[in-house]
C-alpha cells in the first residue's frame, strides 16, 4: 500500500504531464525516496495509480540504473568505472572498498550500512577517480582517504 504522503506526491507530479503514465519515472522516484527501493508490491500499487499494468511499469523500473528493485543498505555507494576513472586507477579504490566492506557489486554489508554499485561516468573526469554516496560526490580519490569518507555515513 502506498502511503497517503506518497500518493499525494505522485499526484502532484501528474500536473506536469498531459497524462498520468508519463509520470511513471517521477512516481518510482517518490516511492524510492520513502522506502529506499521499489518492491514488487510497490510496482503493483504505483501501476494502479498510473493506470498501466505492473509489467509495463516494471519494464521502465528495470531499465534505469538508479531505481533499485532489490533492498539496498542505508547508504548506497556508486563508484565510477568509466574510462577516465579506469585510467586514473579507480580499481585500487574499488579493491579497498571490497576488502574493507566485505562486499562486491550489488551486495549490501551485513550490518545494512552500505550497498556497493558501479556507475557510469560521473562527469568529473578531471578529478578522477570519483564516487558518489547517497548523491554526494567525492573526487580525486586514493585508497587511503576512503575510510574517512565512509565514516560520515552510518
Amino acid at each position: 500500500m502506498l502511503t497517503e504522503e506518497e500518493k499525494h506526491e505522485i499526484e502532484e507530479e501528474f500536473k506536469l504531464y498531459p497524462y498520468k503514465s508519463a509520470a511513471a519515472i517521477e512516481a518510482l522516484k517518490v516511492v524510492q525516496k520513502h522506502r529506499r527501493w521499489v518492491s514488487d508490491e510497490s510496482i503493483k500499487d504505483i501501476a494502479q495509480l498510473l493506470g498501466i499494468t505492473p509489467d509495463e511499469l516494471d519494464s521502465v523500473a528495470t531499465f534505469y540504473n538508479l531505481i533499485y528493485r532489490k533492498p539496498v543498505g542505508r547508504n548506497v555507494i556508486h563508484i565510477c568505472n568509466s574510462v577516465s576513472c579506469w585510467v586514473m586507477g579507480y580499481e585500487s579504490v574499488l579493491k579497498h572498498l571490497i576488502d574493507h566492506l566485505g562486499i562486491t557489486y550489488g551486495q549490501t554489508s551485513s550490518d545494512g550500512r552500505f550497498t556497493l554499485l558501479p556507475v557510469q561516468c560521473l562527469g568529473t573526469c578531471d578529478h578522477a577517480p570519483a564516487l558518489m554516496i547517497n548523491g554526494d560526490l567525492y573526487r580525486d580519490l586514493t585508497p587511503d582517504i576512503i575510510n574517512s569518507i565512509l565514516e560520515k555515513y552510518q
Binding site: 531499465f63 540504473n65 586514473m88 556507475v119 557510469q120 561516468c121 573526469c125 548523491g135
Partner: protein
C-alpha cells in the same frame, strides 16, 4: 567584447550567481531586448547567421534544427523545448560546469530559444547523478519565475513559458534525442524511428526541440553581440568558443573555454600542461568515448567539427581522454565497450547482441585467451554495427574507438594474443 562568453558569468569560486548578480552583470538583457524588438523569426535567423552548431556531440546546426518547427497560427501546441543535460558520455564533464555555475545563463538561453520556436513548455533534463546541478537549476528557476522571466506574459510581451526540471534516473540512452523524449514521457529510453523528426512530432507527439546545455548557453551572447561577433570568436570560422577539457595522465586535467578550432597540441601541451612526468602520449579520444582515437601525428589538428572530421574522428563533446603509454590500449577499449554493451537499450538486434560479443572478445584478449581470428571478428563488428545498420547512434559511436584502436594499436592487440597475456600487467 567578451572573448569567453560562456564562462563570463562564472565566478572563480564557481558558486553560481543569484539572479540579482546575474542581472547586474548584464544577464537577462538579451531576453529583454529580443522580447521588445525581435520577432521569433529574427531570433532564428540570428542563430542561423551565427553558424552555431550543437555542442552535445553531433554538431548539427542549431538554427537549421529550429527552422523545422512548424510556426504560425496553425502550428500544433503545446510546443516543447528540452535542454539536454543528460551528460553521460564517458570523459565528458562540461555541461556540469554550466549547470552548476551559470544556471541563469542557461535559463535565459532557453527562454530566448523557446521564444524563437514559440514553445509553451520547457524542460531542463538533468541526469540523476547531477544532484547539485538539479538543486541549483531548481532554485534559479524559482528566482526567474519570481522576477517575471517565466510564466504568463513574460515582461508584458504576451509570450508565456513554463519551465520545469526533470531529473533522470540513469541511462546513457537518455542523451539520445528521441530516447530522452521517451524518458520524459515516463517510458524506457529506447530510440524512436525518424521520421517523424522531433521538430514536427516529438514530446507527447508535439513539435519539440532538444538542444544541449552548452548550445543553449551560447544563445544570450549571440543575441547580445550578433552572429558576426560569434563567428569571429572561433579560429577557423565555425563560430564561437568551446568548453574543452582533458582527463587522463596529464599534468593539469581540467576544463577551459577556448576559441573553437584551437589545436590539439595547444589544448594538450599548454592548457593541460602536457603529459605527467614519466608518461608518454599513446593516443587520445578527442570528444568522449564514442569518438575515434587520434595520435601524436594529429596534434596540429584544429579542434573543430570539420578538421577533426578530416583527421578521421569527431569533435564530439570536445573533452579529450588521454591514453598514456603505461595504459593498455586493449584494456582501454575493453572498458569503453563494456560501457556501451551495458548501456545498449536492447531495442535493435545488432547493438544488443553485437556489443556484448565485442566486449567478451576484448576481455578474452586482455586475459590472454584471444586468437588471431578474433581481430577479424572485431573488424566485422565495426562494419555491421556501423552507421546505417542500427536504430540509433549508440553502436556506431561504440565502434569508433574500436575501429581506430585496431588501426593504430594493432600490434598491441596482436602482442596480447601471441604472448597470451596483457603485456601491461606484470
Amino acid at each position: 567584447m567578451d572573448d569567453k562568453p560562456l564562462t563570463k558569468y562564472i565566478r572563480t569560486d564557481q558558486v553560481p550567481m543569484d539572479i540579482k548578480e546575474y542581472e547586474h552583470s548584464g544577464g537577462y538583457e538579451a531576453l529583454r531586448k529580443i522580447l521588445k524588438t525581435m520577432q521569433p523569426k529574427d531570433v532564428m535567423d540570428a542563430v542561423k547567421d551565427s553558424g552555431l552548431r550543437g555542442r552535445g556531440g553531433a554538431g548539427f546546426p542549431t538554427g537549421m534544427k529550429w527552422s523545422f518547427v512548424p510556426m504560425g497560427d496553425n502550428a500544433p501546441h503545446p510546443k516543447y523545448l528540452v535542454a539536454n543535460g543528460d551528460e553521460m558520455e564517458p570523459g565528458t564533464f562540461k555541461d556540469r560546469l554550466l549547470l552548476e555555475s551559470a544556471p541563469h545563463q542557461l535559463i535565459e538561453g532557453m527562454i530566448i530559444s523557446a521564444y524563437a520556436i514559440q514553445a509553451d513548455i520547457a524542460y531542463v533534463f538533468i541526469r540523476g547523478e547531477y544532484t547539485l546541478a538539479a538543486k541549483i537549476i531548481q532554485a534559479s528557476l524559482a528566482e526567474a519565475y519570481q522576477a517575471g522571466y517565466l510564466g504568463k506574459n513574460i515582461l508584458g510581451s504576451g509570450f508565456s513559458l513554463e519551465m520545469y526540471v526533470h531529473t533522470s534516473i540513469g541511462r546513457y540512452m537518455c542523451g539520445e534525442e528521441t530516447g530522452l523524449l521517451n524518458a520524459l514521457e515516463g517510458k524506457r529510453a529506447n530510440p524512436r524511428a525518424k521520421p517523424p523528426f522531433p521538430q514536427s512530432s516529438g514530446l507527447f507527439g508535439k513539435p519539440t526541440i532538444v538542444n544541449n546545455i552548452e548550445t543553449l548557453s551560447n544563445i544570450p551572447h549571440i543575441m547580445n553581440n550578433g552572429g558576426e561577433w560569434f563567428k569571429k570568436l572561433s579560429l577557423t570560422g565555425e563560430g564561437g568558443t568551446k568548453l574543452y577539457g582533458a582527463s587522463g595522465k596529464v599534468k593539469k586535467p581540467g576544463l577551459w573555454e577556448l576559441p573553437l578550432g584551437v589545436t590539439l597540441r595547444e589544448l594538450l601541451e599548454e592548457h593541460a600542461g602536457g603529459m605527467k612526468d614519466g608518461f608518454k602520449l599513446k593516443g587520445l579520444l578527442p570528444g568522449g568515448a564514442s569518438t575515434d582515437f587520434l595520435t601524436e601525428e594529429h596534434l596540429d589538428v584544429n579542434m573543430d567539427f570539420t578538421n577533426v572530421g578530416k583527421a578521421g574522428s569527431r569533435l564530439g563533446t570536445g573533452t579529450i581522454i588521454v591514453m598514456d603509454d603505461k595504459t593498455c590500449p586493449v584494456g582501454f577499449v575493453h572498458n569503453l565497450e563494456a560501457f556501451f554493451a551495458q548501456e545498449s537499450c536492447g531495442w535493435c538486434t545488432p547493438c544488443r547482441e553485437g556489443l556484448p560479443w565485442v566486449q567478451r572478445i576484448l576481455n578474452a584478449i586482455e586475459e590472454g585467451n584471444g586468437e588471431m581470428r578474433d581481430l577479424d571478428i572485431l573488424s566485422y563488428h565495426t562494419k555491421y554495427l556501423g552507421p546505417g545498420n542500427t536504430f540509433c547512434a549508440l553502436a556506431p559511436g561504440a565502434m569508433e574507438p574500436l575501429q581506430s584502436g585496431l588501426k593504430y594499436f594493432r600490434e598491441d592487440f596482436e602482442r596480447h594474443i601471441k604472448e597470451k597475456r596483457c603485456p601491461w600487467r606484470s
